[in-house]
Amino acid sequence: MALDLTINGAAHSVDADPETPLLWVIRDYVGLTGTKFSCGMAQCGACTVHVDGQPVRSCTFPASAAVGKAITTIEGVSDDGSHPVQVAWKELDAPQCGYCQSGMIMATLALLERTPEPTDADIDAAVTNICRCGTYHRIRAAIHRAAQLIKAEA
């Protein structure tokens, strides 16, 4: 059965079972590999993408539920790594292995949409992804920095 999905503004018609988790449709059918698989049970957030602006853990989100909605993945954040969140991440040299970072950035984008100047407590509540390398110290600083950059751009 064909699933008609809009990912980063582009239309994709995917021949997959409707119950296929959105993660696998994005990674294996559409071929966008920036979104990561780690736990497969909505625990870690490595697979975070946006569906109509909401962060979802795509490993447990049926692809059929995203039909007709706007899906955004890390590849859709900017063409060249120039989004202020990405810029802040680079300034702080936040990633280590990097595996969790797509998900971290997607969770952060959703937070900053709702809460442009988040407090530490806002960050704690919204960015609940796992980073096994323990980059949290720099991620927190990068989130605050991104908020500044976005404000300066506005």
Partner: protein, 778 residues
């Protein structure tokens, strides 16, 4: 594939792959124009005629592009950047435009190391101007070749800088000198009239300049006349090394472009999901593929024998089965649905943590191997008025990297190609040759970045599984991917352990005798490794013995080889002694180190002093907060390389028992110099979180012979709210080269939280993780 991704893969290997593969097989990777025509079929190594390789580490194109080859694997530790910095420092090219690619593990097999990379310059660990004191000089345990081209391609033992620095600096210097010789001959001037900066060679007298790209072709043909005379720059002359450099792969990591093993896609590729016997040493009895073969996408099933322990350093995993399908989620769904019967040895089927713990404690009283025995410990303990005794325990712990185990393998009758994030490509190459029967010289390991490393052999048999499946599907690329749950089955663990420490104290509270007994399983790491580290604190009578049991869980490296557990035992016990003595734990440590005859004791004292000063040690804290201090070191008991740190942790505990690491003040050894201090800080910050996990959250238990916690629901990992809000790191200079710092730093989180719990709640817990206890108070 984008332009940037080229740097993560060795383009020459892809060229070779594209010609050797049968039929119309074309790799989905970047190929330069006319590549096919240019590659001689069956060439042992392909050198693009447009590119000029100066030596095995350095390629310079006519357009001045400098490419540096990295022979270790980037797993977040920054080796992609620091290795390149060491080459670039000497090469004197423009750091900002350098490109990076992985070195070829295949070529490493075919070629010997250049002679000039073999002798280590200088006088060893204490020679500031020399090459340090490398430890891993050969790979003889793989297949007997003593000095392959890239020497040690392993990424382990926090050794990439320690062991690689001298020959990476030499590689840059050798190339620079040959480029200068080529320019001198081009310009017909003496070489000593030339200067170079950022890849531009200048003849000051005539004002003429040549770029590296312009002379690379000639330099490639110009041998070094006297390679024994090449010198490396001492730290006083470093201009790039020693500066904080952002990691070169970070830009790719914020756009999702980084090529991890899990991201490899080849035309015609099929996916494999695996189920291994959850009890190590168990095997398949039967499986019913007919029950699932009609499911969508399913192609085939393959029984996986117990991986050959000789290929994975003696570790015994279980046998299993794989299902191959068009997509991984189809393979995974099929294997979940397939009936499987396991053949589990009876003596393993009822193994459980409680019984294993009892065995370990019993082993403490059985005869062990005495490793140090100074004075007469038994006599002093027997007549002492005051004996303090404590028994500590630590659980099995895996690395739980975020990228689950995977590898993509294509086996044809001629060759094997493996795309993998791998900390030991040389061993994987060997495994492929043994499993397929194809000569090792025809095995190509294409390195990918790793989504977390933390221990070389913790990958378990990920490569062996993929190679086995691909070998039964010759001509079809197979991408084998473990589920998260399989990754917990396929990894090695740090051994669970117990330690009993006893000390006799004199009237002033100083130790007269210390007896240390540790117990853990006898295979793998631990008992025989460098755990004689309680002796860091002086006692005139001292004994250390190891006691072993026989357990079936495979044990391996995990951010070190078990030292973290031993530092938990040691530092916790010293805290207990200090409290018993009524002395300040910082000054108590300081005095006992000063009394020792450790070769590095002055640096240990300096570390303690600096950490105490940084943390405002001794100033009052509000109720519910406490400070604790600890030493961390690797190698402080022997002459040579060492890494030393002392850390003060400020910990809060709410009345309802919620623990928070509020502030970390770390005084860290910088030796003669750090290559990339920014990478070092990141490693230290990350390890603070790592050992918070160990201290508070993580353990693996065994029930019915199997590991119970196999995903992040039952195996918690700290999240951002658990990361300390304040981290202060200060480096202090010492007179030695460092032993490395990718592991066994910040181990102090464990004992410090334990002691803070004691200070705040009055409760003393000695078994990790502390989060399993009721920590409420008041």
């Amino acid at each position: 594939m984008t332009e940037k991704n080229r740097t993560t893969l060795d383009r020459r290997e892809f060229l070779a792959t594209s010609t050797a593969a049968t039929g119309a097989f074309v790799l989905g990777f970047w190929l330069p124009p006319n590549a096919r025509a240019a590659v001689p079929h069956g060439a042992s190594w392909y050198e693009d005629p447009a590119n000029r390789e100066i030596n095995a580490w350095i390629v310079i194109d006519p357009d001045d592009t400098v490419t540096i080859r990295i022979a270790q694997t980037e797993l977040g530790q920054g080796v992609w950047t620091s290795n390149a910095m060491m080459v670039c420092e000497e090469l004197a090219c423009d750091w900002d435009t350098v490109k990076l690619e992985y070195a070829s593990a295949n070529r490493d097999f075919r070629e010997a190391a250049p002679e000039w990379t073999l002798p280590v310059p200088g006088e060893g660990a204490y020679d500031r101007d020399g090459g340090g004191a490398p430890e891993f000089r050969d790979r003889s345990y793989v297949n007997g070749i003593p000095d392959s081209l890239y020497r040690r391609m392993r990424t382990n033992a926090a050794a990439s800088v320690r062991d690689g620095r001298y020959y990476l600096q030499l590689a840059g210097a050798e190339a620079r000198e040959r480029l200068l010789l080529a320019a001198a001959s081009e310009l017909s001037v003496p070489v000593n009239e030339l200067a170079v900066k950022d890849g531009v060679i200048t003849h000051a007298a005539s004002g003429r300049t040549l770029s590296y790209g312009q002379v690379a072709a000639r330099a490639a043909e110009t041998p070094h006349p006297n390679p024994e005379a090449i010198n490396i720059k001492p730290p006083s002359e470093w201009t790039l090394m020693g500066t904080e450099q952002h990691n070169r792969d970070v830009p790719m990591k914020v756009t999702g472009e980084t090529m991890y093993g899990i991201d490899v896609r080849l035309p015609g590729m099929k996916w494999a999901a695996v189920r291994s016997c959850p009890v190590y040493g168990g095997d398949i009895q039967s499986f019913d593929f007919d029950a699932v073969r009609e499911r969508p996408g399913v192609v085939s099933a393959h029984q996986l024998p117990i991986p050959n322990p000789e290929l994975i350093r003696g570790r015994v995993f279980g046998g299993g089965v794989a299902i191959v399908a068009d997509h991984w989620h189809q393979a995974k769904a099929a294997i979940d649905a397939m009936p499987i019967e396991w053949d589990i040895p009876a003596h393993l089927a009822n193994r459980n943590t409680a019984g294993m713990h009892t065995e370990l404690v019993a082993a403490l009283d059985a005869p062990g191997t005495v490793r140090v025995d100074e004075g007469d410990v038994d006599a002093v303990l027997a007549k002492a008025d005051r004996v303090i005794e404590a028994t500590y325990s630590t659980p099995y712990l895996p690395r739980a990297r975020m990228e689950p185990g995977n590898a993509t393998v294509l086996v044809t009758d001629e060759r094997v190609d493996i795309w993998i994030g791998d900390q030991s490509p040389q061993e994987t190459r060997h495994s492929a040759a043994v499993i397929t029967g194809i000569p090792e010289e025809n095995v190509y390991v294409h390195l990918c970045h790793l989504g977390g490393g933390y221990g070389r052999n913790g990958n378990g048999p990920q490569a062996e599984h993929a190679i086995t499946i691909a070998n039964e599907n010759r001509g079809t690329p197979i991408h084998m991917l473990w589920s998260r749950e399989e990754d917990f089955v396929g990894t090695t663990y740090r051994a669970m352990g117990v330690a009993r420490l006893r000390a006799a104290l004199d009237d002033d509270g100083w130790p007269l005798a210390i007896d240390v007994r540790t117990a853990m399983q006898g295979d793998g790491f631990g008992p025989t490794s460098s755990f004689n580290n309680v002796a860091r604190y002086h006692a005139p009578n001292y004994r250390f013995s190891n006691h072993t049991t026989d357990f079936h869980v495979p044990v391996g490296t995990r951010r070190g080889i078990g030292q973290a557990a031993h530092e938990f035992y040691r530092e916790s016990f010293i805290d207990e002694l200090a409290h018993a003595a009524g002395k300040d734990p910082y000054l108590y440590r300081r005095e006992l180190v000063a009394r020792s005859n450790l070769p590095h004791k002055d640096d240990l004292v300096r570390a303690l002093d600096l950490a105490a000063e940084m943390s405002d040690w001794g100033t009052p804290l509000p109720e519910g907060l406490a400070r604790a201090i600890a030493l961390e070191e690797r190698g402080a008991d022997v002459e040579g390389t060492v890494t030393i740190s002392a850390v003060v942790h400020t910990v809060s505990i709410t009345r309802d028992g919620r623990v928070k690491l509020e502030r970390v003040d770390m005084a860290h050894d910088k030796g003669f110099g750090l290559v990339n201090p920014l990478s070092v800080k990141k490693q230290l910050e990350g390890q603070i979180v790592w050992f918070y996990n160990d201290a508070m959250l993580q353990k693996n238990t065994v029930a019915d012979g199997r590991i119970v916690e196999n995903n992040y629901d039952r195996f918690p990992v700290a999240r951002i709210h658990e990361s300390p809000p304040e981290i202060n790191i200060q480096f202090f200079e010492t007179n030695h080269w460092l032993k490395g710092l990718g592991h066994d730093r910040a181990t102090s989180v464990q004992s410090a939280i334990g002691d803070a719990i004691f200070q705040i709640t009055g409760k003393r817990y000695r078994d990790l993780p502390f989060g399993q206890h009721d920590l409420s108070w008041g």
